[in-house]
């Protein structure tokens, strides 16, 4: 949580490009303009990569469940756990760092159905639907997505280029 939630601006002097891991239920923002944000094992969870190429602000979310109403207290201490509180917090932090709505490039991955094999809760689908609802309310489009199915995904955002890649079943491809 600490490494992910830290504003990386302080590492601007660092010569080696940083690779920041965004854990489950975490989110991260960066203004460094180099290095990567990475999140592993996206199953039914929702991974969101956001980049503002003009302000050089990047952000990533790995949310586990759709709605913070399930546990508002938990959502306050760990907003990245839920898609709704996670997206709101991620967007707020990016705007605070100078990102603007018009320039945001939003890429989405996850929402698979492998984590609940009996599909009773359909968490993956719910996560994706809630994400779309929040984007619609904020008047934001999805640039590209790799969602659904039953695979586990790793998402990487290159903070220098804004390029986002997905690795699943050993295959890496641009999102």
């Amino acid at each position: 949580m600490m490494s992910a939630d830290t504003n990386l601006k302080s590492r601007r002097q660092c010569a080696v490009p940083t690779r920041t891991i965004v854990g489950i239920s975490e989110l991260a923002v960066s203004t460094v303009g180099s290095g990567t944000l990475v999140t592993h094992s996206l199953g039914s969870c929702m991974g969101v990569s956001i980049h503002d190429p003009v302000a050089h602000v990047g952000g990533m979310l790995h949310a586990m469940m759709p709605l913070s109403a399930a546990d508002p207290e938990r959502a306050r201490t760990k907003p990245g756990m839920y898609v709704d509180s996670g997206m709101t917090t991620l967007l707020e932090r990016m705007f605070a760092l100078g990102a603007t709505k018009r320039n945001l490039v939003i890429r989405v991955a996850g929402g698979a159905s492998n984590m609940d094999s009996d599909s009773v809760f359909r968490i993956g689908e719910r996560n994706y639907t809630v994400l779309r609802k929040i984007l619609w309310k904020n008047a934001l489009f999805i640039q590209s997505e790799d969602v659904g199915g039953s695979k586990s995904r790793t998402m990487t955002l290159d903070l220098a280029t804004g390029e986002t890649t997905i690795k699943s079943n050993g295959v890496m491809r641009p999102l």
Binding site: A139, L140, F141
Partner: protein, 291 residues
């Protein structure tokens, strides 16, 4: 849910577009309008209509660049609306996007044969509407051709009404509350569109007297002035289309002439496609929309 890539191209170039949304559902119209506003198109205006007949009435009085229409609507459905626009020289080439629950492939093919630009199935993702709109508006849009209007006026006015005109900057003109005549006509050929005019009644009357070579009697002055404005528009359209289309064949619809208001004047003078002319102390506006 499958892998999709929705490539966005930002579109800051071209004239701002006027869009008409035709759907009997208020909620769908509002969702489409929201998507259009989100998409970052250079937008001039969004008009709404609840059925085909309302749409035709908007199309009759407003320049529209793109129509998004449902198929199943009361009073007049989308198919009839499509057919009507295809019969009208001024509307024939307007891009139409059908947004409907229609999913039958044969019918979708049939729609595309009838000239529908794209079919978006309801319920839609906002990205789909945006992508289709950008694919239309990213094509090079014709620039305002006020230069061609100037050439046509210089050619037509001395011959028809024995007058000369000085072209003015329309946008910087003061509002006008004069009594005036409003005329418009559609044309089609290698270029198609609408030419419209606002001519002060006093100028129209002088024009008709010049054309006749004698004062008209007071009882038929209105009719003759209207006829003169119609003929002015007709000859201007012919000259402009011939100029822009390099002499290719074209069709002209009969001009429609009526009275214009201060609102018409204010609406027209701010259009980038509008040109103003000073003629013997009067000012007239011409507006040339081409596709």
């Amino acid at each position: 849910m499958t892998n999709t890539t929705l490539e966005m191209t930002s579109s800051e170039v071209g004239n701002p577009v006027n869009i008409l949304i035709v759907d009997d559902s208020d909620i769908i119209r509002r969702m489409i309008a929201r998507t259009i506003e989100m998409s970052g198109l250079p937008l001039s205006s969004i008009h709404e209509a609840a059925n085909g007949r309302e749409a035709l009435s908007v199309l009759d009085r407003t320049w529209i660049d793109v129509v998004l229409a449902d198929l199943n609507m009361p009073i007049m459905g989308g198919l009839e609306l499509l057919d009507r626009t295809r019969e009208d020289a001024a509307l024939r080439d307007i891009p139409v996007i059908v947004v409907s629950t229609e999913s039958c492939e044969e019918r979708v093919d049939e729609l595309e044969k009838r000239g529908v630009h794209a079919v978006v199935r309801k319920p839609f993702r906002p990205e789909q509407i945006r992508d289709v709109l950008l694919s239309i508006t990213d094509r090079e849009r014709p620039a305002a051709r006020t230069d061609a209007l100037g050439r046509a006026v210089d050619e037509v006015l001395p011959l028809l009404t024995f007058m000369n005109a000085i072209q003015l900057d329309a946008a910087s003109l003061a509002p006008s509350s004069q009594t005036m005549m409003h005329a418009r006509m559609g044309f089609s050929g290698s270029v198609s569109g609408i030419l419209s005019a606002l001519v002060p009644f006093s100028l129209a009357r002088t024009m008709s007297e010049n054309a006749l070579g004698e004062p008209s009697s007071s009882k038929d002055a209105d009719m003759i002035a209207g006829d003169t404005v119609g003929e002015l528009l007709n000859t201007l359209a012919g000259t402009v289309v011939s100029d822009l289309g390099n002499g290719a064949a074209f069709d002209l619809a009969p001009p429609e002439v009526g009275t214009g208001s201060a609102t018409d004047w204010a609406d027209m003078q701010v259009q980038p496609t509008c040109a103003a002319f000073e003629v013997e102390g009067h000012t007239m506006l011409l507006n040339l929309n081409v596709r």
